[in-house]
Subunit: 367 residues, 2 copies
């Protein structure tokens, strides 16, 4: 059960529908598959999606961080000694996605070694997560169609609207169009990806008080410390920190500083170990959490479901779990099904995202 | 005066005396020389020292960030349009050292284009900076000898003691030995590089009240938000944020959050442009600044001198400018002299650190 080797395999899978948002856009999944093999021959896997516009990482920096900095120090360590493993990873600052994927791959190996699904090892609260679907920068009519289709095809009733554009009327009209067309039963919330100033965000909130929005994520750059504190203090709805609180330390500082009133947890950047720490901080302080999506593959989405379904607090709100629908393919062997607006955990040992080796051979970009 | 090309040249120069500190150690300068050539044929240079244990960057990530993410977007932009250049760099998160070096190289090119020394373009307050010397993890007797030699050879009278070890007595005894041997005239301050907890730092301060220490830098991990706030609130001396406040946004949040009461500015991670923003924040709030060293070469140290001497607030305290003394060589054409404890600005156009092309050819590691 010691780490025998750590592999990083780059691969590229195109999107059928490129996604645009205030901080960037994505047209190809140029990710890294991280594989940990133990001395017993168990293989744990996880997906690492590079997001330079959010965490400063690229496909090659993820491979180098894991291959050159982590792997030499970790080979020979037991997969159960997670505190030791994290002590090694902490020596390198940032590189959250590299660390998150390695942590999840180790948890996958732990689950397989002890013969248990990871969602049970993490808490085992429930067996599925409700799905929230993300509506990107497109004309309001197209977004309404998309939302209707998601409702009809998958039973999804919660939607995150990507905002953060100027003039503000562009987003305000989109919000109104969606609420008008979708009715009162769906849940709508906003993600500005730092696109506005804090004062612009306040203006949008003032102009959408009748739209029953439930949350506002990353209204502005977190460096707007004073204005953001004022926004958070006066906002009628939770202001969620996502990219401004990628680590437990960032989350505690933003919460104490009044920079947010809720925290988005993403397993792709926090793994399961730091996500557990962040969750403890939030439940301890009585602060809401959401399970976010890092434009994840099905492999990444299943990791989010495993963590989210494992705990009461993370399964209370819908998780952002549907971005994979825009990919042309995936490395997963047994594809995810969304039924009645939910994704189920896998009851197999590990995280449950087994890899299709033929697809991996076809999409890997290093051979 | 448009950017025609951006080069990143990796090189390696060994240290004669490896430096050890609480967050890492350095035995070879495996840096990147960044060169910006304009359409007029002006070449601006800067040094990028990778510090994975502080900023998560490696030699290859710096080269990739500048080469793959920044360069394609910046070629064709005027070197004077710094706000546009920074808007491009901001799209990528972190990678502070890559951004800092590119900014300084652009300022060097600006200085050469307009025929002015950059320290004058930045403010022109004075013509030299007082030097602080860093005393690393070695037996107290050796540190005393080192400090004496620095006084005799270079006239240096300000010393930063690297601390952050356990048991705390190790550092407390070192502090006492240095104060006892060096007398009351020298300035001594501490840098724990996050090695202690906030409460351990408080214990060291309580046990060294008679040692006339002037500052305590990075006592603990900034994620200890609540304990650190308590330490800062009660500390009799300024608590300096260094690696916990690498950007203007981090500085404002740490200051508002009570995580520090002074800010260390390092041009290697902030360039001149963001350093100016951080300085404005600090002078506006009435908060002390120090000019820090990122284990810089002479090229990097001259950049620090150019920025530090340019402003009243940054030249008030001694700058950390002597780490280059431990290097076996340097790429600089005209070496730095430390006289009467000071380093002078260069009155040539640009930053003043011209490159010795023969040495560059000898030390570059890409050919």
């Amino acid at each position: 059960m010691k780490i025998a080797s750590i592999e990083t395999i780059p691969y590229e899978i195109p999107y059928t529908h490129p996604l645009a948002f205030a901080s960037g856009s994505v047209s190809t999944a140029d990710h890294v598959l991280v594989r940990v093999t133990t001395t017993d021959g168990v293989v744990g896997s996880a997906d690492a999606p590079p997001r330079p516009y959010t965490y400063g990482e690229t496909q090659s920096s993820i491979m180098e961080t894991i291959g050159s900095l982590f792997s030499p120090a970790l080979v020979g360590t037991s997969i159960f000694d997670r505190e030791k493993i994290h002590a090694v990873m902490r020596r390198t600052i940032h590189n959250q996605v590299a660390k998150g994927a390695l942590d999840i791959a180790i948890w996958d190996a732990i689950g397989k070694t002890v013969g248990q699904p990871v969602h049970r090892l993490l808490g085992g609260y429930t067996d599925s997560m409700r799905v929230s679907h993300m509506l990107g920068f497109r004309p309001a009519a197209e977004l309404v169609d998309d939302a209707h289709r998601m409702g009809e095809d998958y039973g999804i009733t919660t939607f995150k609207i990507k905002v953060g554009r100027r003039p503000l009327s562009l987003d305000i009209e989109t919000i109104r169009a969606l609420r008008g067309a979708l009715g009162d039963e769906v849940e709508l919330y906003l993600d500005a990806n730092r696109g506005w100033t804090a004062n612009e965000a306040a203006e949008v909130l003032r102009n959408t008080t009748d739209c029953d929005l439930t949350m506002l994520e990353e209204p502005c750059d977190a460096k707007e410390a004073m204005s953001r504190r004022r926004l958070v203090d006066r906002s009628p709805i939770p202001v969620v920190a996502d990219e401004s609180a990628p680590t437990a330390g960032d989350a505690s500082r933003e919460l104490l500083n009044g920079g947010c009133s809720a925290i988005c947890i993403k397993t792709a950047r926090s793994g399961f170990t730091e996500a557990t720490e962040i969750l403890g901080l939030c439940t301890g302080l009585g602060v809401d959490v959401t399970m976010g999506n890092q434009i994840d593959t099905q492999i990444g989405s299943l990791a989010t479901v495993a963590f989210g379904a494992a705990h009461e607090a993370t399964s209370r709100r819908a998780g952002e779990l549907s971005n994979f629908l825009d990919m042309s393919d995936d490395l997963i062997l047994d594809p995810i099904a969304i039924r009645d607006g939910r994704i189920s955990v896998r009851e197999t040992a590990g995280v449950g995202a087994d890899i299709d080796e033929e697809k991996l051979a076809a999409y890997r970009s290093d051979r």
